[in-house]
């Protein structure tokens, strides 16, 4: 039997750093070489190896079948973005067929069937997809989700492969045509599809490949990041393809189950570039067996990137210390900053320097919004350590603005705005939401609080009250909505926010105004609500029941989450010992 072979690291064609007109042209070029993509199983074995040449010919063949569906140019196809070769093949087939792929989540929580199906249904509907594909493992969910929606073609890969191959001309997109839709941002109730054109994605890719990562011959990528997030899709599917690098994939589920597969795979294949939010490094460090460490050789890993959630230097340091005997160097850490609305990347810290910290006066930041550097002797309580995330990518401008929209000088904290060729054209079919974040002059309001120091971005928090758990954005509105669905709870009776918990974790808090006085009923409400949150989001949360009129309202009648949070902390000053213990339990 022929043993399957992974695609090689060294290529036979010259490295081109993403300087293409569109994704189809990038794949055409990559197909001239021998590199490609590789999928590994949960046991760490190679399950599929697809050289770019083969990917291209499969994508072309599929494109000719998809053309026969008679969808209009720019028509959208929803693709459940499971980590497998079928998703990738469909994604690139769309590029040749003039269709727009819409990657959708492939993640379902324990007992979360209904929540996942409902979410898929909203996304398929919002995207206006006319066809939808899922590989077999997620197909039952998709099939249920699209029931009653007006989709003509819903199937597993085999359904589309059985369509006749037409000789209709391929529809190579122009630079203004949409390359894909990304539903990373936005709440589950009101999804927002980021529209990324060919020109925009190519601009960001060039920035990532040339400047952010300085890709060079001999690089090889490793990723377990989901294809339905910008970091997985753009950073580790499209960017390696557009720079003709081989990539090794683990599915996100397999990583979550067996995080040790990640360093093992990098060791085995001599990977050089891999990214993870802080939580992935923490998970890996927690589950690694000390006896295994000397079997690893991580000396090839030159870029250990991090982003997507607040960067935790302590977690990264711990990971580096643990894996130093395996040749890992903390100089490999690269802090980066970006978001789907700017394709993926906005800034990268300089390579080979590791995490660089700005130690500033915590009080001056809170009180005056100014980042005053303090020297090493300041007491811990007074100093705050934040991470330098590098300068904006070339061709991009960053402005930090105050709440009146005035640009602020260095070391003054405000809202980060970015302008440049990687910024999205808007949210699909939602001019109002688009206007809220994108000015006519092309400035994107990122909603992130930041300051610039030595021209580098330093993120201090978020304006929108976004909750970020394990690299995932969770909208407080979605949690509050769950609370408001409970019997006896009304609109504007709930406020959700996060607080720093013990150790690594952020803890989600839901404060709910409750008129029920019966203690048993109250306890049950708390338990049911916590269960609903776990089913829908897979996270634990703390629920506090408070009397009506407790939650602070703004002048426009909205609940102020910031003040609700401050009030909550004041009411619960003993929380630091046991942040997960819920308010409902404290009384018993």
């Amino acid at each position: 039997m022929n043993e399957m072979k992974k695609t090689p690291t060294d290529n036979t064609i010259a490295l081109r750093k993403g300087d293409f007109q569109n994704l189809a042209e990038a794949l055409d070029y990559a197909a001239g070489g021998v590199t490609g993509i590789n999928f590994y199983s949960g046991k760490g074995d190679l399950a599929a190896a697809v050289p770019y040449a083969q990917l291209r010919s499969m994508a072309l063949s599929l494109a000719r079948r998809l053309l026969g569906l008679g969808l209009p140019k720019g028509g959208r196809i929803a693709l459940i973005a499971d980590t497998n070769a079928d998703f990738v093949r469909f994604f690139f087939a769309c590029q040749y067929a003039g269709l727009v792929p819409v990657p959708l989540p492939a993640a379902v929580h324990l007992g979360g069937r209904q929540a996942y199906v409902d979410n898929l249904r909203k996304l398929v509907h919002a995207s206006g997809a006319q066809a939808a594909m899922s590989s077999s493992s997620f197909f039952p969910f998709l099939s249920e989700a699209v029931a009653g929606l007006d989709l003509n073609h819903v199937g597993e890969p085999g359904y589309f492969d059985a369509l006749p191959e037409t000789d209709l001309p391929l529809q190579i997109p122009g630079s203004e045509d949409v390359a894909y839709l990304q539903y990373t941002s936005g709440s589950t109730r009101f999804p927002r599809g980021v529209v990324i054109t060919q020109k925009v994605v190519m601009a960001n890719l060039a920035g990532i490949i040339r400047h952010g990562l300085s890709v060079r011959p001999g690089d090889r990528c490793t990723s377990w990041l989901p294809f339905y997030h910008d970091m997985g899709l753009v950073g580790f599917l499209i960017a390696p393809m557009a720079s003709q690098l081989s990539t090794d994939y683990l599915s996100t589920r397999d990583f979550a189950m067996r995080p040790r597969l990640w360093p093992a795979l990098i060791s085995k294949n001599r990977g050089t570039i891999s990214y993870s939010p802080s939580f992935g490094y923490a998970l890996c460090a927690r589950r690694i067996r000390p006896t295994e460490i000397d079997q690893y050789d991580l000396s090839s890993w030159r870029i250990a990137g991090t982003g997507a959630e607040p960067i935790r230097p302590d977690i990264l340091e711990q990971f580096a210390r643990l894996l130093a005997p395996a040749g890992f160097t903390s100089r490999a850490f690269v802090a980066s900053y970006g978001m789907a609305e700017c394709t993926l990347a906005i800034s990268f810290a300089p390579l080979d320097q590791g995490i660089t910290i700005d130690r500033i006066d915590a009080e001056a930041l809170t009180e005056e919004g100014i980042a005053v550097a303090v020297d090493g002797t300041a007491r811990c309580g007074q100093a705050k350590e934040l991470v330098f995330c590098g300068p904006a990518l070339p061709g991009h401008e960053i402005e930090i603005r105050d709440d009146q929209g005035r640009a602020l000088p260095e070391r003054h904290c405000g809202v980060l705005h970015v302008r440049g060729p990687s910024v999205m054209t808007g949210y699909l079919g939602n001019p109002e939401a688009t206007r809220e974040v994108l000015s006519p002059e092309g400035w994107l309001n990122t909603g992130d609080l930041a300051y610039l120091a030595d021209n580098q971005v330093v993120i201090t928090g978020r304006v929108k009250d976004m909750i970020i758990i394990n690299g995932r954005n969770i909208w407080p509105q979605d949690l509050e909505f769950l609370a408001e669905q409970m019997p006896g709870i009304r609109a504007r009776d709930a406020a959700a926010f996060s607080i720093s918990g013990s150790g690594d974790e952020e803890t989600v808090v839901l404060v709910v105004q409750c008129r029920q006085l019966d203690e048993t009923e109250r306890e049950q409400l708390v338990e049911v609500l916590r269960g609903r949150v776990r089913e829908e989001f897979g996270i634990d949360c703390r629920v506090e029941l408070v009397p009506p009129h407790t939650l602070p309202q703004t002048s426009s009648g909205k609940i102020s989450r910031t003040i609700a949070r401050t009030d909550f902390l004041r009411r619960n000053q003993d929380l630091s010992q046991s942040p997960m213990k819920c308010a409902g339990e404290n009384r018993t």
Partner: protein
């Protein structure tokens, strides 16, 4: 599948849950893993990994979406072992 197989699996899973600090003295088969035992998504993955290694099965993860109680979970493991 025999009842004996079920009880055996149940006992092993309870031991695992205890290791996660997620076990009460008298854990009920009808206890909901998420609601009553407070397993978050990362702990679920760790539990599944332990179960897979212990019984040498490969759990179809998408079946997890329909599992609510400890009993559901044990029955699914039993099914996988028999498969």
């Amino acid at each position: 599948m025999s009842r004996a197989g079920y009880d055996e699996i149940l006992a092993e899973v309870k031991k695992l849950l205890a290791r996660f600090g997620k076990s009460r003295e008298e854990i009920d088969e009808d206890a909901e893993l998420v609601n009553d035992l407070e397993l978050d998504s990362l702990l679920v993955m760790e539990l599944v990994q332990e179960v897979e290694d212990m019984f040498d099965i490969s759990f179809p993860l998408n079946d997890l979406s329909g599992i609510h109680t400890l009993k559901d979970f044990v029955l699914q493991i039993q099914k996988e072992i028999g498969a």
